[in-house]
Amino acid sequence: MTATQSRPAAPREWVGQGIDRVDGPHKVTGTAPYSGDVTLPGMLHAVVVTATIAAGTVTKVDTSALLTLPGVRAVFTHENFPRLNAGPQVAFGEAPPAPLQDGRVAFHGQEVALVVADTIQQAVEAARLIEITYAPEAALLDPADGSPEPLPYLPDTHRGDTEAGWAQADVRVGATYTTAENVNNPLGLMGAVAAWDGDHLEFHDSTQWPVNVRKTLAAMFGVPESGVRVHAPYLGGGFGAGLIPWPYKMLAAGAARALRRPVKLMLTRPQMFKLVGHRPDTEHQVRLAARRDGTLTAIEHRATSLASLDKPALGLLTSATGQVYTCPNVATVERTVRLNRRYPSAMRGPGEAEGNWAIETAMDELAYELGMDPLALRLRNIAADVHPGSGLPWSSNALVECCRVGAEVFGWSRRDPAPSSTRDGRLLVGWGMATAFYGAYLPQSTARITVYADGTAAVRTAGTDIGTGTYTVLTQLAADLLGLAPRQVDLQLGDSDLPDAAQSGGSGLASSLSAALTDAAANLRRSLLDLASPDSPLAGAEAGEVTCRDGGLCRAADPSARASFADLLAGRELTQLSAEGQTRLPDAAEAGMHQAGGFGARYVEVAIDPAIGRLRVRRIVTVTDCGRVLNPKLARSQIIGGTVGGIGMALFEETVTDPDTGRVANGTFGDYLIASCADVPDIEVLFAGGPDRFSPAGTKGAGEIGLVGIPAAIGNAVFHATGRRLRSLPITIDQLMM
């Protein structure tokens, strides 16, 4: 014991602590630069003009009057906008067609002209006065007239024989479920500032993926990728809207190149409904079959999402369907229908959120058909140990624990299963639950660590922090890896000149960058060890035997055998030392495991005033297995945000498209309803499980899983409260009046 006491105190672990956001002070003092804050000398302002027909051709744009207005510098149409190359293909992120190339209109709201002026006020007024003549054509607007086609990212899947499973069953349910178009609507309006110097482009953008914007702009403008630099140090939220290289980026870059002046282009709120993607309308036909004891014998999921003519839906509606429950017979079929509508894209929990609504509502229906507790039905079928498709053990799966912990905290055992059985005065009270799954995704990234003689360190990577906490969790991890305090670590993100990083999407970036950073730290220790002189206490140590602590390198087994970074650098007359690392992943199958995504269980209480159809969510208990939690405060914030999004998807959010014109009818925050603070009840956020075995950092991502399962849990609570099964989102007063 004496020997132990004489050692220095064990270093504090920063990972796992709920420290405040390191970028918080920048944000609350207004010093965090968003793309809209960037102002350059000589900068002009651009305003996008959008189409007022859904299909056809621009035949004439009368610009003569506009060009005489004060301050107006240019009006770009398909007749004078620079010709662009097609965008490159990249996973999930390929650009829609280049704007203003041929006058073709494929949806109401599409970019058809760009007005550039000295001030934003001048540009707005000129854009209002522009006169555009169209040759309209018959638009394909009714989904019933479209032809379903397969999705590029997800083939149909078959496991076992669903018809045989259907025949073996004692109880069967089948129904059609729908979800409405939702729009990401980050609070920060998206936009860009473009400035060219010859073939070199500085591009300040609202993006979740700077490297992809660089690649896309370089290809489309035919300039070297090496000369394009994309800055996105901060983003006012994204929820997926910042993943795609949208046409507004090409408009800003094209106008700036043609005019040889920096150009700022910011979208308006109504344009955010049209030009940066959305969660498309979906329809799901689900059939479930089970034996009397609740054992599933067949799952069939046929789903369709609406898309635009020029960009298919991301889909993924059926991607979780065969992965949660042990069922020998599973079939999924997924289609997209292309219409003269706006470009779809990814929105928080894309596909999984919609598919979960269908499957987890159907599971509740099955539970009632069986006369079985909905939780018991899940527990009967959860594939807790091995993946039901591959048969390999999960790298981690705490879904059963999520269900049990949530039920305990919520008080599920006190639930009377009979619909309309629980009242509070004139209110009908309902309790509902659902499980959640979000697919595993762990992309490649790189990161660089630099240590300096003063004992501080810099971490650099092109990845972004879209409000999720990337700055903070990487600072915590770097502090642990380097034996420093968080304030000694300087973190820079969101710059495509920094080491390449994946998109902030698919809930994969924290895992990806954590792995890259861990690898960089290992490389750095090796390089530092190489600097040690023969008389150093570190001499002869192997790379695996040393660790960083207190601004230096030491033997892990004997921290007193150490050399400070300053001494190591000075010995070789260096001022700094850098090392890069990359995401290194095990081969899951070789390691004998199935890579897991996030799991969760959601418990919801609603109260409904049946006479006037008023529904309020009163309480939510949400339990999530997202692997290792890097920062409980930020993870909790992610889950709360996802939960609020789930409430919006369930009860409020719906982009209304006029059936005759394809126009967005409610593209404002006054008309498109998102959950207000008064709609959000107490949310109890709990985590279950532990570090994942596949992910090098043990993390599985917390960004999207929080939303998944909330809509179904709310809908199931509505059924419990009222006995009314509602299968179409959002659930509104007119559906609830009794």
Binding site: R128, L651, G670, C677, A678, D679
Partner: protein
């Protein structure tokens, strides 16, 4: 931004003269709806006469009458003790009507004259709007029409008057005090607005240059009870789906007297006089309440999207009548 002339007179006569002299001029008060309409290009005045420096702010209570200056903010009126004591439905409508920020900017005079929230009226790229452009048609009736009116409307226009506070003010027979080029007059609020089915492009009876300077609001006598029930999708910050303002004077379980107006259903704030007559002097009876509600919405003009408002209006009124006549005072 479209250029316009901006005036800020300091007395009422100057303000009225400035607007009266220019057919393209308009008054500007809190601006919470007008500036949106200007930004959206729906409303394009050449001259704005800012009236916020006029001495029209403040509340005077004189016996049974409360005079509310037209520039009194929604928040100030909600905080007025006489309103809390004797017109609770007005306070409830104000608080449910807007966020605190908006209540601090928006004025009572401006609230009464707010324009419809119709999504087709508010988008100038939609050409068919009889309210904006006479005889151009109505795009709303052919599309998704959940937020529109069902009373005082027809196929030419389904625009809703979305004010909350106007509903209880109509119920108590408040009057607008109006000053114009021809002098001063009183306009009962029940006669201030023009129903859409009586002329979709004319919203109210005020002439160009006429300015609301105050609203005279009768206070409910002692013994009356009132309340405002607003039904909407989300719990806060949303325009009304259906609302009911109800004031009652009970004599045991007999309804000695009452006032009723409905919001969210009419092209104008909807006074329900027939329902009042049916229930005055009767006993508390939910069946009768529902019949009175049915009578109020009889003859509703509905679209697929608004059909639910008929039953919702009946249910909302029935609920609020029950609350005012039977439930314990909070």
């Amino acid at each position: 931004m479209r250029a316009f002339v901006y005036d800020r007179p300091t007395d009422v006569e100057q303000a009225v003269a400035a607007v009266a002299a220019d057919p393209q001029a308009a008054f500007l008060a809190g601006g919470t709806t007008q500036l949106d309409l200007m930004k959206d290009g729906v409303w394009t005045p050449d001259r704005l006469v800012d009236i916020t420096r006029l001495p029209l702010r403040g509340i005077m209570v004189d016996g049974q009458l409360m005079r509310v200056g037209a520039l009194t903010s929604m928040e100030e009126l909600a905080a007025e003790p006489a309103v809390a004591d004797r017109l609770l439905m007005v306070r409830e409508a104000l608080l449910a009507g807007a966020s605190t920020q908006l209540r601090n900017m928006a004025t009572i005079g401006g609230n009464l004259l707010q324009r419809t929230r119709c999504r087709y009226f508010r988008d100038p790229t939609v050409s068919a709007c009889n309210r904006r452009s006479p005889d151009s048609g109505c795009a709303a009736v052919d599309n998704h029409a959940r937020m529109h009116a069902i009373l005082g409307v027809d196929e030419r226009c389904v625009a809703l008057h979305a004010s909350d506070v106007a509903v209880p003010l109509v119920a108590v027979d408040a009057q607008a005090l109006v000053v114009g080029p021809q002098g001063q007059r009183h306009v009962p609020l029940t006669e201030l607005w023009v129903r859409a089915d009586e002329g979709p492009s004319i919203e109210h009876v005020l002439g160009h240059g006429e300015l609301i300077t105050a609203v005279d609001v009768p206070l409910l006598p002692a013994g009356w009870r009132s309340g405002y029930l607003k039904v909407r999708d989300r719990a806060s910050y949303e325009f009304v789906l259906v609302s009911a303002a109800v004031a009652v004077l009970m004599d045991g379980d007999l309804i000695a007297d009452l006032r009723i107006a409905l919001g969210g259903v009419g092209s104008v704030p909807w006074r329900a006089r027939q329902a009042e007559q049916m229930l005055r002097g009767t006993h508390v009876d939910p069946v009768r309440f529902e019949q009175a509600g049915r009578a109020t919405v009889a003859g509703a003009y509905t679209l697929p999207g608004t059909a639910f408002k008929v039953d919702l209006a009946v249910a909302t009124l029935t609920r609020q009548l029950l609350a005012m006549t039977t439930e314990a005072t909070p």
